[in-house]
Subunit: 358 residues, 4 copies
C-alpha cells in the first residue's frame, strides 16, 4: 500500500501519518519525490485503518498494490484447474468443450431434436434454460421445474451432461438432484447469496460475467465460490455492455486472454448472447477459440423462427453443423502458450485445437 | 411495429411477409420508400411471431414503436404517484425527502449518534445497511439481523422511519415485520425473483438503478413490482458505470430528468455512491435537487475515518448539517414543470425547494 | 513511481531492478509486503526508462503517483484563473456566464433575432456555428466565412462578444481577426495540431471535452494550450458517451465538480448537446449551476422547427426567457466552497448565483 | 421514416401532421395500433422538414429506417472492394495482409533493423510513426519529416510499401510525395477537414476507428472519403473505450464481423493498441483473423524496453517471428462466408488463411 501525500503537505502532516501507521504496528517508509512525498506501507494490509488515513490532513490518495482476489489467482495456484462434468473436461490441456442447445426449453420434442442434432455435430454438453431471467415481466419466463425434468431425461437418453441456469435459492434442491452443472447467469454474478448457496452444493458451476462487471469483479465473484471450498468453477465471457449498440454486447476477448494469464480457472465464451444475431455467431466463435477459450456455449434451435426467446441469435442445426465441421477439420495449436510461459515461468503443455480446414 | 425490407427485396418476398402477417390476423400496410420498402403492422403485437418474420427472406430488421413498459408509464397513469412511508411523502408536490445514515450499521451507539445528528439537521428518514453486498468475500458483510433490530429500535426512539437493503428472500419475514421501507440495491435490480417476492410484502420499496441498467430496464424492473399489485415504489438514481473512472460512478441526471417525464413514480438520487468521495457529495446533491429529484439518500457517519465500509464517501455530521442548512434557507421553485406541462398536457402543481440561500 | 514485483520474484531480480534504477541516478527504496515486494522510486521520473523496467524479469507493473498535467493543476497554481472576453468574466468570484445562440448561423435575420432575444433575457455572450462538424457528409456544414462575418456584425451591433468553433488551421487568420473567443469542439479536443495553433493566437479559448475523454485527457488537452503560453482557457463539460442512449450524452457533473477541485481553470456546461432534446435542457442547466459550473452555453433558436441542425434540442426564445427568469430571481450561494476550502487550504470567496425563485 | 404519435394524440393532431407531410409533397399512411397511431412517410426523406414535425403537437418521436451511409454500403456496392498498395492487396479473396513496424520511427538503424526483421518473418508492409499524437505535450512527438524520409528510404531498400499517420493538413504534400498509404488515426477519425483533404490526394488510406466511434460513425467517416471520389480505403478496428480498463481498449470483433457484412471495404485489426501489453497481442491477433479480418497491423520493436513510445505493447522480433510462424503453417478456410452469402445473395469466393499449425 502506498500513501500519496498532497504536494503542499507539511512535514508534521507526514510525521502524523507515519506515527499513525506505526501505532497500528506497521512499518512506513518515506519516498520523497520531486513534487510530493509518498509513504510506503509494509506489513499485512488487513490491519490498516485505511479510511482513517484518507481523512488525515495532507493525505491525497491511497494506492493498492495487491489484487483483492487470492484463491482464483494463478499467483496462488499456478497450475491450471480442470473442471470435470461427468467425463467432460474443461481447462488445462483438454480440448475445447462444446456446449450447445436452445436458449429456453420449450417441449420434449424441441429439446430432444436439438440435443440429438448438436450431439451428432460433435457437441459435448447440452444447454437449455428452464428458468429465464427476462427484462420484462411480460416475456416468456421458462418452463421451470418441468424444463429441468426434460433436460434430465434427454441428457440421460443421449448420454450428454447438461447445464442450466438457476435463479433462486428456492430451487437449490431441484438443481442439486438433477443438474450436471449449474449456471449462474450474468444478471446474478453479483448475487452473492446465490453464489455461496450454489457453491455449497459442491457441483460444477458455470459462472457468467456480469454485463458490466470488471475482470476484477468477475474473479472476485468466483472467489466467493472457491472461498466456500468449491473449486469446480468454469468462467464464461459473454460480452460486455458498451456505447456500441449495433450488436448486442461486445465479446471481450481482451479480458478472456487476460484471465487466462491471471487465473487458473477454465474460461469459455458465449458468442450467441454477445452477437445478438445469428450471422455473427460463427466469426465470434472462431475468434474466441483462437484467443484461447477453453470452450464455447452456443444457442441452437431446430426452428429459430419459432423460438419463444432469443430466436434471432440462435443457429439452426444446419449452421451449427457447419461451424462444427470447420472445427473437426482442425490441427493442433499452441494458443497463447509462449507468452504465458514467459510470464509465469511455467511451461504450458496446452495443445488447443482451432477452427481451420486442412 | 415496422418491418424494414432489404433494399434488394423482391416483390414476391414482400408479398410473402404481408401474407404471413395477414395469416396471423394482422393488418399490413406497405410503405414504399426511395430506397426500400417498409411494412407497417397494425393490431396487437402480442400475436406477432416476430422471430419467424426476421428469418423470412428479404427482411432486414424489425423496429418497435411501443415501449415495453406500461404500468410505470405516465402515458398510462399521468398523475404523479405519491409513496407514503409512515408520514413521509415521496413525489408529487411533496417537498424533497432527505434520507441519511451510515452505509453500514456498526453498533447501537454509532447508529443512534448518527440518526440523532441527521434528524437534528432535518433528515426525514434514516438509512443503514444490515446486509451488505460486497464485491469481495473478505470485506465486512454487515451485522445482519442484529443490524435490523438496531435500526428498528433507533427509528422508534427517534420517531423517524428507516429504509434498509434486503439481499435474500430468506430475510423476507425479517423485513416484513421490521422495515418501514425495503431497498432493492443496484446489484439486485435484475434479481427478478427478489423483486417479486419483496413486492408481495406490500411495503414501500426503494429501487436502485443497476449500475449499467438502461432507463428502459430500470423502468421494467419497477414494472415487475407494479405488476404484482404494489405501486409504492420510489426509484433511485445512484450513478452509472462509464469509461470515466476518476470518480466512482457518474450521476446520471439526464436519466433522472427523463424518468420524471416518462414515469409517474417518484425518483430520488444517491450522490454518495456516485461520488465515491465526500468532497463531491454536496455539489452532486444540489445538482440532483435542481434537476428535479424528489429526494436524496446520503451516507453520513459520525466518524468517517472509522467506518467499516465506504468511509471515504461519507459526510460527517458537521458537513451534513452544512448541506442541510443550505437546503433550509431556500425558497420555492417550479422544477422542470414547464417542459413537463407542455409535454403531457398536465398542469403540474409541484413546488420544489432547492438549495440556495436568501 | 512505484515498481511492483511479481509475488514469486527472486531477490536477484529485485536487486537487478534496484541496480538499474541506481544506474539511472535514482534512489530506490524496498517495500517488502506480505505477498510481494514493491520498490519506491525517488527523484525526477523524467529520467526513468520505464519501458525497460517493465520488461525486466520479475517486474509486474509500474504505478504512477504523479498526475501528468502541471500548468492546469490547482496544485501548481492554487488561485482561480479568470478568463476575460471583452468585459465578460469567467471563473473565480464572477457570477455564472450565460452564452446562448443558434447551433448554426443560418442568416443575418435569424442570427440577429436570436441574439437580440437572448440578450434581452440576460445572456452575456452569443454563440453560433459557422463551421459545423457533421458525422455525415450529406448534412449541412455551415455558412463558413460568411457565418463568421454575420457573427461579427451582430455581436458589434448588440455589444455582446461571441464564440464560434474553428475546425481547420486554414481558418486561423479568419478567427484571429474576427472572433472574440474561439471554440475547440469535442471532436477536436484530441487534435493537438489545432490546439497548439489556436493557442498561439493568444485569444480566449473555449475547450470542449471530447465525448469519451477522461478528466485527465481533458486537462492534458488544456495543458497543450497553457504550455504555449496561453492561460485564457475556459473548459466546457458537454456530456459523455455511455451505454445509456435514451438521451444523447450524459452530462458528467461528477467530473465538473472534480475539475473545480483539481484545476484553477473555469469550467462551464453545455446542457443542450448533452440532453439532445429541448425538454431536458432546463433541468440539466439548473443542475450544472448547482454543481458549481461557472456558466452555461445553451442552444437557442427563434424557430426550432426550422433549424438546419440540432433543432430538436434547441430552446425557443420563450423557453430561454423562462429559464433566465428563474435565474434572475436568485439569491447568492456558496457552491462547493466548503469542501474546496478544506481540501486546498484556501478560503474561497466565490459567491455563486443559482436558479431559484425567492 | 415513421412518425410515432403520442398515445393521447387527438385525431386533429394526426390530421395536421398528415397535412404537413402532403404539403411537402410526401405521401403519408396512417398505421393505427392498439395503443397509438404511427404515420408512415413515403418518398425521398431529403425533403422532410423533420425538426418541424418533431415540434408539432402530438408527435412523440421519429424513427429512421434508412442508414445514413451509402457509398460504403454493401447494399449499394455488393462486390468486395480491393485496395492496392504497390502490389499488396487488401480485401476480397486476397490473403490477410501483415503490416508491422515500430510505433515511432526513432532512427535509421532502429527502423531498418525492425523492417528487415519483420520482412523476414513474412510481413507485407511496414508501419512507423513520424508524427505521433500524444495525450501529453511532454511526451515524445515523433521525428516528423525526418521520420518520413527514413521510412521512404528503408521501404525502398527492402521493397516493402509503408504506411504512416498524418496529423495535419500542412503535411499533405510531404505524404503525397512520399507515403505509400496514409493513416488517419483514431483521434482524427472525426477530423473531417483532414479526411477530405487526404482523400483528395487519391492515395490509399488506412482509416482507424475512433476509440468511441460507433459502427455508423466509422462508416460515415469512410463515406466522407468515398464521397470525394477515393475508394481506396482500408478500415482498421483498433479497440474501443469501455468501463473495463484492465486492458487498454477492448478489441471489438463484433463490429469487425458486422462491418464485413455491411460494407464492401476491407477491414484489418490492430491488436497492439487494443491490448496495451505485449503478452495479449498474439491471442488477439489470432482472434481477429479468425473473425474475418483482412489483415493485421502489429507494433514490433527491436528493443521494446528502449522504445520511446508504447514499448510496453510492442512485440520484439523474436515474438513476431513466432506469431508469423503460426500463421505460415496454416491451411485455408472460408471465414464467415456462409452467413454472408446467405445475407447478401452473393457467393463469396474468399479463402482466408488462419493461424493454426498442421
Amino acid at each position: 500500500m502506498l500513501i500519496v501525500m498532497h504536494s503542499a503537505a507539511r512535514s508534521e502532516q507526514i510525521d502524523a501519518v507515519v506515527a499513525a501507521l506505526k501505532n497500528s504496528g506497521l512499518n512506513a517508509e518515506l519516498l520523497p519525490g520531486s513534487e510530493r512525498t509518498a509513504i510506503g506501507v509494509m506489513g499485512n494490509k488487513a490491519f490498516v485503518d485505511e479510511d482513517r488515513l484518507l481523512t488525515m490532513s495532507g493525505v491525497k490518495e491511497i494506492i493498492h498494490v495487491t489484487k483483492p482476489y487470492k484463491l482464483v489467482s494463478r499467483e496462488f495456484f499456478p497450475e491450471d484447474t480442470i473442471v470435470h462434468v461427468k467425463g467432460v473436461q474443461f481447462g488445462g490441456t483438454a480440448k475445447p468443450v462444446h456446449i450447445a442447445g436452445p436458449c429456453a426449453v420449450e417441449s420434449r420434442e424441441q429439446l430432444f431434436s436439438i440435443a440429438k442434432g448438436v450431439k451428432e455435430s460433435g457437441a459435448d454438453m447440452l444447454r437449455g434454460g428452464a428458468f429465464k431471467p427476462r427484462s420484462s415481466p411480460y416475456s416468456f419466463q421458462g418452463l421451470g421445474e418441468e424444463g429441468i425434468a426434460l433436460l434430465r431425461e434427454v441428457a440421460d437418453e443421449l448420454q450428454m451432461p447438461f447445464v442450466s441456469e438457476i435463479l433462486s435459492i428456492e430451487d437449490l434442491e431441484l438443481f442439486e438432484h438433477n443438474a450436471d452443472m449449474i449456471q449462474i447467469g450474468a444478471r446474478n454474478m453479483h448475487n452473492f447469496d446465490l453464489l455461496q448457496r450454489v457453491a455449497d452444493l459442491g457441483k460444477p458451476i458455470l459462472l457468467k460475467r456480469g454485463m458490466s462487471a470488471t475482470v476484477e469483479e468477475f474473479l472476485l465473484a468466483a472467489e466467493y465460490i472457491l472461498n466456500r471450498g468449491n473449486k469446480q468453477v468454469v468462467l464464461c465471457e459473454r460480452g460486455i455492455r458498451t456505447f456500441e449498440q449495433s450488436t448486442r454486447n461486445i465479446l471481450d476477448l481482451n479480458s478472456l486472454a487476460l484471465i487466462r494469464l491471471e487465473s487458473h480457472l477454465p474460461i469459455i465464451a458465449d458468442p450467441s448472447h454477445s452477437a445478438g444475431r445469428y450471422d455473427l455467431v460463427a466469426p465470434l466463435a472462431k475468434a474466441a477459440i483462437a484467443a484461447g477459450a477453453h470452450g464455447l456455449i452456443v444457442e441452437v434451435h431446430n426452428k429459430p423462427s419459432k423460438a419463444l426467446s432469443d430466436g434471432k441469435q440462435s443457429l439452426d442445426l444446419e449452421r451449427y453443423e457447419e461451424l462444427m465441421k470447420e472445427y473437426r477439420n482442425t490441427g493442433k495449436q499452441e494458443v497463447g502458450s509462449e507468452a504465458r510461459a514467459k510470464k509465469t515461468g511455467m511451461k504450458p503443455e496446452t495443445s488447443q485445437a482451432v477452427f481451420s480446414s486442412s
